[in-house]
């Protein structure tokens, strides 16, 4: 199927109905493998068993940023190409991205208390991650404020592209400023500093959480398409009602 065909919401719904059962199955298998790997992972020589928090914390952080990156691409799709599914994709991704960002902050806090001696510190990495959660909530609020989805989508797209400035700030905050948070240790020049025995479970959980994100996103897009159909039908019903202006 050509990619352009997915621009049709009806075709997208048909594809989603076919893909979702497979994605749900793949996600369940990936989590079974990931949790088995997590269970078998050795303790860190410095951090002990608290390293197991990393298997949730790091994928959540990646997916919180991935969600905003996806929304930024969708924002371009809305503003530049006026793709009919772009703002549907952006709206569906926002609550999922916000949930993963929230999970990143909470699990980071629970990891920080035993390792750093504090749940929270206003350093660059933690603060920029909190800003990401706040702009996610701002975008969700904006979607709810403007009733007409096509008008809301343009305002949200501009806010999303402005918010994308925060992504490199999050990524490089540990290099640009002196922070309590450790520097990049997975994707870095010179290779990962994490031992394979911990890196493999981390990637297994990252794959599982990514599949979960994709599955939830497609399901949420399907719901949003249905919601817009209902809105259109209700407008048609109101126009057809006796005594309406048309």
């Amino acid at each position: 199927m050509p990619l352009i065909d997915l621009a049709n919401p009806t075709r997208f719904l048909a594809l989603a109905e076919r893909a979702l059962p497979w994605l749900i199955g793949a996600t369940a298998i990936a989590f079974a493998v990931g949790l088995q790997q997590t269970h078998g992972a050795p303790d860190d020589y410095q951090q002990g068993a608290t390293v197991k928090i990393m298997f949730i914390h790091v994928p959540s952080a990646w997916l919180g940023m991935f969600g905003w990156g996806l929304m930024s691409v969708a924002a371009l799709g809305t503003l530049v190409w006026r793709h009919p599914l772009a703002d549907v994709a952006a709206k569906a991704a926002a609550p999922i991205g916000a949930a993963f960002t929230f999970l990143c902050l909470v699990t980071g806090s629970l990891w920080g208390r035993p390792m750093w001696g504090t749940y929270w510190v206003w350093d660059a990495r933690l603060t920029s991650e909190l800003v990401l959660l706040l702009i996610y909530l701002g975008v969700i609020a904006l979607w709810r404020t403007v009733e007409d989805p096509s008008r809301a989508s343009r305002a949200v797209a501009v806010l999303t592209l402005v918010g994308a400035i925060n992504l490199p700030i999050i990524k490089f905050s540990v290099d640009w400023w002196n922070t309590l948070h450790q520097p990049a240790s997975v994707f870095r020049v010179g290779g990962s500093t994490i031992d394979r025995s911990i890196l493999i479970p981390l990637f297994a959980m990252a794959i599982a959480f990514t599949l979960l994100f994709v599955t939830l996103h497609i399901a949420a897009m399907r719901n949003e398409i249905l919601r817009r159909r209902i809105r259109t039908l209700m407008l048609m019903q109101a126009q057809a009602a006796p005594g309406s202006a048309s």
Binding site: A49, I53, I56, P95, F100, A220
Partner: protein
């Protein structure tokens, strides 16, 4: 499995993760049911999209 002296923090982190994932799944499933029910009610009351009417005519 021995989680050491910081077991409470590890268990709490995994519990929050399970809760957040369950809420996300619940939100998507319940929202889908709600939209399907509302769509079925509207279609039952005779309101259909133009494209659906075209499909019915050509069928």
């Amino acid at each position: 499995m021995n989680l050491g002296p910081h077991a409470d923090f590890i268990v709490a982190a995994y519990a929050v993760a399970v809760l957040v994932v369950a809420l996300l799944i619940g939100w998507v499933v319940l929202d889908h049911r709600t939209q399907q029910r509302r769509l079925a009610q509207l279609e039952a009351s005779g309101v259909t999209r133009r494209s659906d009417r075209t499909v019915e005519r050509t069928a």
